[in-house]
């Protein structure tokens, strides 16, 4: 069976991959945060970069992002995008017990700057969720898929994406997007995970997923 990257069957297979990955991520987040964590089923699709940007509101919509590079059996980039407010609430829950909640959530409404501790918590959130996805993708290959050190930032969505796409633009115009919602400690926080393999990796992934289903 040939599984074409981007086809309905391929997306269905990848949806399963992401569901498994996010379940793993949820388990890890329970341990990290000490709170009850649930991750809603992801909406997985191949889409254009402009569609991803539209999901964030506009290219200059400010988002909290975590970048992780992908090496090993796959090459490319991965991003977790949240609203700054969602990131701050997430960080507050993860830092609960380390800092007083009021300190963890410090910052006026609409403040776009995260403290170093909040940024660190955001990076850890990105690290856990993205690595869970990469580990799940890695089960389709003989060699593992490795993440780089995460980098957290609060920036314009378009600026984050254009920095990542520079590396891919000559051969990739579609990205793999998984939109999901985290429920942590009674709070719902929307997030988007983007996996952006380069063109050879995307073809290799489609082949690996197809082989797995044979």
């Amino acid at each position: 069976m040939t599984l074409v990257a981007g086809s309905a069957l391929w997306q269905a297979s990848l949806t399963t991959v992401f569901l498994n990955a996010l379940a793993r991520a949820g388990e890890a987040l329970v341990v990290m945060s000490g709170h009850e964590v649930a991750v809603e089923p992801a909406r997985v699709r191949m889409c254009s970069v402009s569609e991803v940007v539209a999901d964030t509101g506009s290219p200059d919509a400010v988002v909290a992002g975590v970048y992780v590079g992908i090496t090993g059996s796959l090459h490319g980039h991965a991003l977790l995008l949240l609203s700054p407010d969602g990131a701050r609430r997430f960080a507050g829950l993860m830092l609960d017990g380390i800092l007083e909640p009021a300190d963890a959530l410090a910052g006026p409404d609409g403040d776009l700057i995260l403290s170093p501790l909040q940024t660190s918590a955001l990076q850890e959130l990105g690290n856990v969720t993205i690595t869970a996805c990469l580990n799940e993708l890695g089960t389709y290959f003989e060699e593992p898929v490795h993440p780089t050190v995460p980098q957290g930032m609060v920036e314009m969505a378009g600026a984050i994406l254009d920095a990542v796409l520079m590396d891919l633009v000559t051969d990739v115009d579609q990205v793999l997007s998984a939109q999901t919602r985290f429920h942590i400690g009674g709070q719902a926080i929307d997030g988007t995970i983007l996996i952006l393999p380069d063109a050879p990796s995307l073809a290799r992934l489609a082949e690996a997923v197809a082989s797995h289903g044979r």
Binding site: S58, M156, D162, A163, M166, V169
Partner: protein, 169 residues
């Protein structure tokens, strides 16, 4: 919080927006018009505004060099002359123009060492300006922040917005 062009202090409610997406070029002589590039990261926006004719053009360059198709100013080496041609067609004189450049940031430190596209974009723009005998009247290049730029066609005022705030060139 969402930064939108409507937040721009230079804009009137009746302004006409023309948006240059990645690799695209916009131009205008409508005095109520505003030319916009949203969310520049490593990309570089170059603007030209003629104080005599009020012709204006704005290009959103993505990469320093390249081959193949795609939008008109995706690559600086292929697109710079197209940018100047579009400006001339509206009656703009590049030699008389106020030329400004914004962007070329290094957003991702993890990637910066291997790619450094922002710096290479800036170098490519500077090289093509020099080849064309042009000088930058003002610039906001490099760093590690994303930027949105708005060029007011009527005044030539260039507004730059980032997470840190807003400034005018």
């Amino acid at each position: 919080m969402t930064l939108t062009v409507a937040d721009g202090v230079a804009l009137s409610p009746t302004t006409t927006l023309s948006v240059a997406g990645i690799g695209e070029l916009v131009s205008s002589r409508d005095p109520s018009g505003t030319l916009v590039c949203y969310g520049l990261g490593s990309c570089v926006a170059v603007s030209a505004w003629d104080p005599r004719t009020h012709a204006a053009a704005l290009a959103h360059f993505m990469l320093p060099t390249g081959s193949g198709g795609g939008p008109p100013v995706k690559f600086v080496d292929q697109g710079f002359e197209r940018f100047l041609d579009a400006f001339r067609k509206l009656g703009g004189s590049p030699m008389r123009a106020e030329v400004k450049a914004v962007g070329g940031a290094s957003m991702l430190t993890v990637m910066a060492g291997s790619l450094d596209i922002g710096r290479r974009n800036v170098q490519a723009v500077e090289a093509h300006l020099a080849m064309s005998g042009l000088r930058l009247a003002a610039s906001d290049l490099g760093g590690s922040v994303g930027r949105t730029v708005q060029l007011a066609v009527g005044s030539g005022r260039l507004l730059i917005k980032s997470v840190a705030g807003t400034r005018t060139l």
